[in-house]
Symmetry: C2
Subunit: 202 residues, 2 copies
């Protein structure tokens, strides 16, 4: 063991990078192995981090999964902003918007979120953690979709139609869970874009 103190910043950076790798591995693990298969040991191995180092960050499975829930919802909000928050002069087409939404709800991140929702439906403590995070993701998805579509919520029915678009892509995410539903989804969203344009009178 060296007595020379390591420079402070790099160590903090390494710690942050390790934590982030563990959280990314936890999200992937939730998506592919499900709730029961996501343990600190499994996630540590997937992340290429020693079990000791993993337990330095997350002592229990509960701590790890809670942090993964928070991390996953932050990443989902950030991805939505990155893809939908464009200057109004470069507004995407309705088809582009619904295609982007369709993609966002069929990622491993969505599958991981789905595992959490279902686990939270029979676990009060988890539900209390998941609900405020989901509310935030939902509000941001709605706001960004309204802006990307250039939709006017003061027109009666517009708010509900945009909400229906988000519920639709959530349903499409579910339809993609057990089989590759991409061909049907592409046809369906093409038609949805036409319906949406008519409904929003664009």
């Amino acid at each position: 063991m060296t007595t020379q103190a390591l420079p402070r910043e790099p160590r903090q950076d390494r710690s942050r990078a390790t934590r982030r790798r563990l959280l990314e591995a936890a999200v992937d693990c939730l998506a592919s192995e499900g709730w029961a298969g996501t343990t600190v040991a499994v996630v540590a191995e997937r992340a290429g981090v020693s079990r000791g180092a993993a337990q330095h960050h997350f002592r229990t499975r509960e701590e790890l999964v809670t942090a993964a829930v928070e991390y996953g919802s932050e990443v989902r909000v950030a991805q939505m902003r990155e893809r939908l928050d464009v200057p109004s002069g470069q507004r995407p087409s309705t088809l582009d918007v619904v295609t982007m939404l369709g993609e966002m709800y069929t990622t491993p991140l969505f599958r991981a979120a789905l595992q959490l929702w279902v686990a939270a439906s029979s676990d009060e403590q988890l539900r209390a953690r998941v609900l405020p995070l989901e509310a935030r993701v939902g509000r941001e998805a709605h706001r960004l979709t309204i802006e990307a579509l250039g939709a006017d919520e003061s027109v009666p029915g517009v708010r509900e139609t945009v909400q229906a678009t988000l519920d639709l892509v959530r349903g499409l995410g579910l339809a993609d869970l057990l089989t590759d539903d991409s061909a049907r989804r592409t046809r369906l969203l093409r038609q949805w874009a036409t319906t949406l344009d008519a409904a929003l009178s664009r």
Copy 2:
């Protein structure tokens, strides 16, 4: 113990009734306790059946859950037929159809199915069992919705719009998992019925 033989029919009836009680309890248990919480012992207690009697019908948790999957999909198809398969002279309004669909995707039966889909997404054997059953439920839901709406699938876009309606209500089922979403759902489906009428040119 009596040596007198019991009449044959009643015993078979009792056995069928017990089996049915166990399957109903298994569906309820999946919906409220989740996949991991659904064991033969828990389901037997919920059904008011002795553990011995339960194990006479279902030796393992696997057998019970598989039978519950099949039973649940039969009941879902039967419920859809009962509610949507009406004589063409008494065709329901578009709002009635989407309201009925919205109700069907927020029942304990839907929640139980959701638990199965999510469990099947990380379990190949279960997936192989769930897929053909889900395909059957999906085909029947589509056929009944087309008929109830009096929609003409030969018109371009109609097939996709009806499919989107079913994906939308599936998404609404998911939105109802952690909170009571009924007020928002009612507004949304009222608007969707208007959009659907315009899209189907009814």
